[in-house]
């Protein structure tokens, strides 16, 4: 269970060194992406001027305040509250996000499925779990909204955040075929019959 400080973007080797139960703190850059963003980019072929290669994306749609563009607010947005949404809905986008855009990390909550795990193993990626519902804390790790693209999808735009000490995040799915979610699911399945029996439900 090692801890890594990673300045984004990262190389495949940096991702491959991570194992489940390791922790990671990200530095510098994080992209925000969500359902509509990925539907438009990956189903409808919309392009972005951002280079996502080697980067981390977080499943988010933030609360922001529109402000005058300035040095402090280069995108014309001040962060209000930025948190993380449930990743499972975006399961089918993991592989194209990696093959078409070179994304290496997904930061999310609740975990993803076998398709994502396979993509992480084949292409060199990992899922970094954040504690869902702790957005007030997460917002303190975000220094600035540096840029935004596909903003007609607001709040589901493609956001570029400047981050500092973003974490610790838990490596919950690694590039070696390990997933804490698969392990927990198997454990829960094993307990299910006993729990039901304790309730007088026999199958």
């Amino acid at each position: 269970m090692a801890h890594y400080e990673l300045t984004m973007p990262v190389t495949e080797a940096q991702v491959r060194q991570l194992r489940v139960n390791d922790t990671v703190t990200l530095q510098q850059t994080l992209f925000g992406i969500r359902d509509a963003t990925q539907i438009h980019m990956l189903d409808r072929g919309r392009t972005t001027r951002f280079d996502l290669r080697g980067h981390a994306v977080i499943h988010t749609a933030p609360n922001v305040r529109k402000v005058e563009k300035s040095e402090a607010y280069p995108a014309g947005y001040a962060p209000v509250c930025i948190g993380t949404t449930t990743s499972d809905r975006m399961e089918r986008f993991t592989r194209p996000l990696m093959t078409q855009h070179g994304v290496r990390f997904i930061v999310g909550k609740g975990g993803m499925r076998q398709g994502s795990l396979d993509a992480f193993r084949e292409l060199g990626g990992a899922y970094l779990a954040i504690v869902g519902g702790t957005a007030a804390l997460e917002t303190t790790w975000i220094e600035q909204i540096e840029d935004v693209d596909l903003d007609d999808l607001n709040p589901e735009s493609l956001w570029k955040f400047r981050i500092r000490n973003f974490g610790p995040l838990l490596v919950a799915m690694d590039s070696h075929g390990n997933s804490l979610y698969t392990d927990i699911k198997a454990d829960v399945e094993r307990r299910r019959a006993d729990v039901l029996a304790s309730l007088g439900v026999h199958q």
């Binding site: 609360n63 209000v80 917002t139 699911k185 729990v195 309730l199």
Partner: protein, 291 residues
């Protein structure tokens, strides 16, 4: 008591913002109880982060969670309250819009087909407004619940049959909790609706999921089943964030209604650990805020 509608509009705005920022004391108490009993180190760490977040939100006067949810307003009108019902609903809607624009808040509400976001947290039939009547004199209460989607997306209805009995209820609740896994942001309040028609059953599940911790089903049989299921779900090992541990749910809550001789409906609606709600009570003395 005549209701001052601009004051209701202001309260509707204030309630949305308050609910998003400060968790009710019963939910904080729920965290304290789970923190004491949790045995898995990873789960303890996650619970500690959640508790830290509650403090950070209060210190920074920020939202607890980025999900501003689907806004729900539950109105209870007491005896002797004079108000135009239509105007009351309009005032609530206006307050909800104003909270979204003036704070500002992320509008999480879109048209179901075009996915268009009006950036007001409002749309067709939203905010959801429920109006009920109580015998209490000269009192109007407005409860606001921003219902997050992570938990709302894990809502289930099963039209079981009488021959399947209570066993079907128990199995369905257990399997809903298992299938939801970490997607609902556990620890959750598992709301269970029993009986009624299909729509009433689902509404009861929501009422159960948003009831304060420590409250019990008014029906003694329902209350006993709540206790039994509350203990059972926390032996499943789902844990906080679905990453294992004892703290899968703060509690299982049940609300029930009579049903048809041929029916045994079961609905499950969950509330995430950011179990937010706020309320305002309007009396002749003015407005007081609470949870």
């Amino acid at each position: 008591m005549k209701i001052d509608l601009p004051a209701v509009e202001e309260a509707a705005k204030e309630l949305y913002i308050r609910a998003l920022k400060v968790l009710p004391p019963d939910i904080k108490g729920g965290f304290a109880r789970l923190t004491e009993t949790e045995t898995a180190p990873r789960a303890q760490g996650i619970l500690a982060t959640m508790v830290r977040n509650i403090q950070v939100a209060e210190e920074h006067e920020n939202l607890l969670c980025q999900d501003t949810g689907v806004p729900i307003y539950n109105i209870a009108i007491g005896r002797g309250v004079e108000v135009d019902g239509h105007d009351l609903k309009q005032a609530i809607r206006k307050g909800c819009e104003r909270a979204t624009r003036e704070h500002p808040l992320r509008s999480s509400v879109v048209h179901p087909l075009t996915r268009r976001n009006e950036h007001t947290s409002c749309g067709a039939e939203v905010p959801v407004i429920h109006i009920d009547f109580t015998p209490e004199p000269n009192k109007l209460t407005i409860q606001m619940i921003p219902k997050g989607s992570g938990s709302e997306n894990n809502s289930f209805l099963k039209m079981a049959i009488p021959a399947e009995g209570i066993a079907a209820i128990k199995e369905f609740v257990i399997d809903c909790v298992i299938n939801a896994g970490g997607k609902t942001c556990p620890p959750t309040i598992v709301g269970v609706g029993l009986g009624g028609t299909s729509d009433l059953c689902v509404a009861l599940a929501k009422r159960a999921a948003t009831r304060p911790l420590g409250s019990h089903c008014a029906d003694p049989e329902g209350a006993a089943l709540e206790k039994e299921l509350s203990d059972a779900v926390n032996r499943l090992g789902v844990g906080p964030q679905g990453l294992g541990g004892d703290s899968t749910a703060f509690a299982v809550h049940i609300e029930l209604a009579a049903t048809h001789i041929t029916m045994n409906p079961i609905a499950v609606n969950m509330q995430c650990h950011s179990a937010r709600r706020a309320s305002a009570t309007v009396t002749p003395d003015g407005i007081t805020y609470g949870f």
